[in-house]
């Protein structure tokens, strides 16, 4: 299957997601307080979007897509699962972490280490890896949560860099087999030889990719469900109230830090699971998951898709995977292309593709901008209206006097 075919397929998929998402629009725009009454209908909208996407994804392999395309989609599912969780922290809870890949790496490394050193089956190691990621996520969150926004970004980035450096510089032998030295963390080479999910034995050589496909799809579905659950839970509306006015929310006794830490910690489950699945499917786990270019790649998914929106990360992941397929042909310039995409999105699409779509579809030539405010004001001081008329009369009268 050629690259152009792949591009077209991914593009079609992305456009489908986009069109469906339009029906639901941006959930967290400035009109939030009006939409709050429509929350139940939003849930149903999201439900149907999810169902349609899921149905598409489930039957997609039946169209006889090639192995390369499927493996790209597997990667897309994993990254989409990761950025959905990242968006939950970054866009919804407002914790500007750049260390999300560290949580992912902890999940992946612990899963593969347990399989490698303790001889566990990878399936059994997955939950342990996820648990480790949760613990790490909690520790990371507890360390940085009280800092100001830009501080958090720098500190989490520094932590991720330090973890990568520690792994790369690990040269002590942990196990020596056949005179070859294996480091505890795998060092710069990474960990390997810890087995896989056993799809080959179960489904045969040809069926292996389908097993991988549905496993990563399951991961994405669970991750999305969890994200939507948080968004529609009281926790989600708490964060919206904090975002609208932190001081007002604080004075009503909303403890921002507590809720942020909860979301930060719990999102570690699926990030860690994604790490474990990634490790199992790639069959090697190396420090390159903490590289700057991968960070940039995933970050641009969130930024391009639309921060703080329900389906933005998914659209962002789809479009970035597509862009990456094209950029791969340019080899050396790939990173430069990614940087340009992220800069372009930040300057011209501050609300991402979702924001662009909702702007296009919500646009109308003579919109009444002021309706909601006037109605609220009228309600508050309806008894003023008669004075207003009288004031106009006085104005007239005054002019006559002149």
């Amino acid at each position: 299957m050629s690259i152009s075919q792949i591009s077209i397929l991914i593009a079609v998929l992305g456009i489908l997601v986009a069109i469906i998402a339009f029906f639901w629009g941006t959930s967290h725009s400035t009109k939030e307080f009006i939409k709050i009454d429509n929350r139940t209908s939003n849930v149903w909208k999201d439900f149907w979007i999810g169902m349609i996407l899921l149905a598409l994804a489930l039957i997609f392999p039946a169209f006889g897509a090639g192995k390369y395309l499927l493996s790209q989609i597997v990667l897309f599912f994993i990254w989409a699962a990761v950025v959905t969780q990242w968006n939950l922290i970054f866009g919804i809870a407002g914790i500007f972490t750049l260390g999300h890949m560290a949580v992912f790496a902890v999940g992946g490394y612990i899963t593969s280490m347990i399989a490698l050193y303790m001889g566990w089956n990878l399936w059994a190691a997955l939950p342990v890896g996820a648990l480790a990621a949760v613990v790490f996520s909690f520790l990371l969150g507890a360390t940085i949560i009280r800092l100001r926004g830009p501080y958090i970004a720098i500190m989490t980035l520094a932590i991720a860099i330090v973890i990568q450096k520690l792994i790369v510089s690990d040269v002590d032998c942990f196990v020596t087999k056949d005179l070859i030295c294996y480091n505890f963390t795998g060092g710069a080479k990474g960990l390997f030889g810890y087995g896989n999910f056993g799809f080959k034995e179960l489904l045969g050589y040809k069926g292996k990719i389908y097993g991988e496909y549905y496993l990563s799809l399951t991961l994405l579905v669970l991750s999305t469900l969890f994200a939507l659950f948080v968004i529609y839970s009281p926790l989600g509306s708490t964060f919206r109230s904090i975002r609208d006015n932190e001081i007002a929310a604080g004075s009503r006794g909303v403890n921002r830090i507590k809720y942020q830490l909860i979301v930060f910690t719990v999102s570690g489950i699926f990030t860690g699971l994604a790490g474990g699945v990634f490790a199992g499917l790639q069959t090697t786990m190396g420090p390159n998951v903490l590289s700057l270019s991968l960070l940039l790649f995933l970050l641009s998914m969130i930024v391009v898709g639309g921060r703080g929106t329900n389906w933005g990360p998914l659209i962002g992941a789809a479009s970035l995977m597509l862009a990456d397929t094209i950029l791969r042909d340019f080899g050396q310039l790939r990173v430069a292309g990614l940087s340009l995409i992220i800069l372009f999105a930040m300057i011209f699409l501050p609300n991402g593709l979702i924001g662009l779509l909702s702007n296009i579809f919500n646009w109308s030539p003579n919109k009444k901008e002021n309706e909601d405010r006037v109605s609220i004001k009228n309600f508050i001081k309806s008894d003023r209206s008669k004075y207003l008329k009288r004031g106009k009369w006085i104005k007239k009268f005054g002019n006559e006097n002149e």
Partner: protein, 292 residues
């Protein structure tokens, strides 16, 4: 005694390196509230300019610093007008600019990689020998960098307190709206601050790469370290930042010599994290009061 002197000298070397970074970066935080991860691009720029000047076109060392100054100035101008200005117009600038500057850093690294190749080059603008004190060598490069830090600090302090540019930069940083009402063109003064920053950063790039070598990602670590030094010192407090730069430089080198070089940066970060746990606004930082 030997090891103590070793730690002292190399701590002085990296401390001055972090101090020049902190010096330049704090200017941007003070003016626009911007943490610039693309500092690494300016460092690499300075390094490559020095390499280009002396090794490619065989010019005299005399031209290196002025050329670095100029190229940093131009880069700062371009960076401001192509990127920062537009991101400043949107909301959430202080976080968005970090993302954007990560992208700029990657773009810069990639550009240098494509233009000059990935291998480490010897940057010729440096002193090779050193001063011998009780058997331990104190490189002239370290002394030179240290003196340059002091000179740059004095120049910065003079610019900020005496010149009209400094006055305007301070006014804009304290109250942008009030500055506009005084007839100050805020955008123009941001651009000027960015150019001043760029030229200082490029000069520090010459100094930093003189101590090591020049390669596309040369300034990456130094940038992140300078930023966390500024954070732990409390942003907006330059004197505390310079002090912290040397203190953490000594800490890092001490750990490097005693426990192995891979633990220097982690222990430095650990120290910073512990400080921030107790003082989220930094060691010398003030509580920020948001008026309603």
């Amino acid at each position: 005694m030997d090891i103590f002197l070793q730690i002292l000298f190399s701590g002085l070397a990296v401390g001055s390196m972090y101090a020049v970074g902190a010096l330049a970066l704090s200017l941007l935080w003070g003016t626009m509230g911007m943490l610039n991860l693309a500092h690494t691009t300016f460092i690499a720029l300075g390094g490559y300019v020095a390499y280009f000047c002396m090794s490619v076109i065989d010019a005299s060392w005399f031209f290196v610093l002025p050329l670095a100054f100029l190229s940093g100035l131009v880069m700062g101008y371009i960076y401001y007008h192509l990127v920062i200005r537009h991101i400043y117009a949107n909301q959430n600038f202080s976080v968005n600019i970090i993302i954007a500057s990560v992208a700029i850093a990657a773009l810069g690294e990639n550009t240098f990689l494509n233009l000059a190749g990935g291998e480490a080059l010897r940057q010729p603008f440096q002193f090779t020998s050193g001063l011998k004190i009780i058997g331990v060598v104190l490189p002239y490069q370290t002394i030179f960098t240290f003196i340059m830090v002091i000179i740059l600090m004095v120049i910065m302090a003079l610019i900020m307190s005496k010149s009209k540019l400094g006055q305007v930069i301070r006014a804009v940083s304290q109250n942008p709206d009030a500055a506009k009402l005084m007839g100050i063109n805020v955008q123009k003064s941001f651009a000027q601050a960015m150019m001043l920053y760029g030229s200082i950063a490029a000069i520090t790039g010459v100094l930093v790469t003189g101590a090591s070598q020049v390669f596309p990602s040369v300034g990456g670590d130094a940038t992140v370290k300078a930023l966390i030094i500024l954070i732990v010192a409390g942003l907006g407090n330059l004197r505390a930042g310079i002090f912290m730069a040397f203190a953490l430089g000594f800490l890092e080198m001490g750990v490097n010599y005693l426990f192995g070089s891979r633990y220097g940066f982690p222990s430095m970060l650990g120290f910073v994290i512990i400080v921030l746990l107790f003082k989220p606004n930094g060691f010398f930082g003030k509580e920020v009061v948001n008026r309603v």
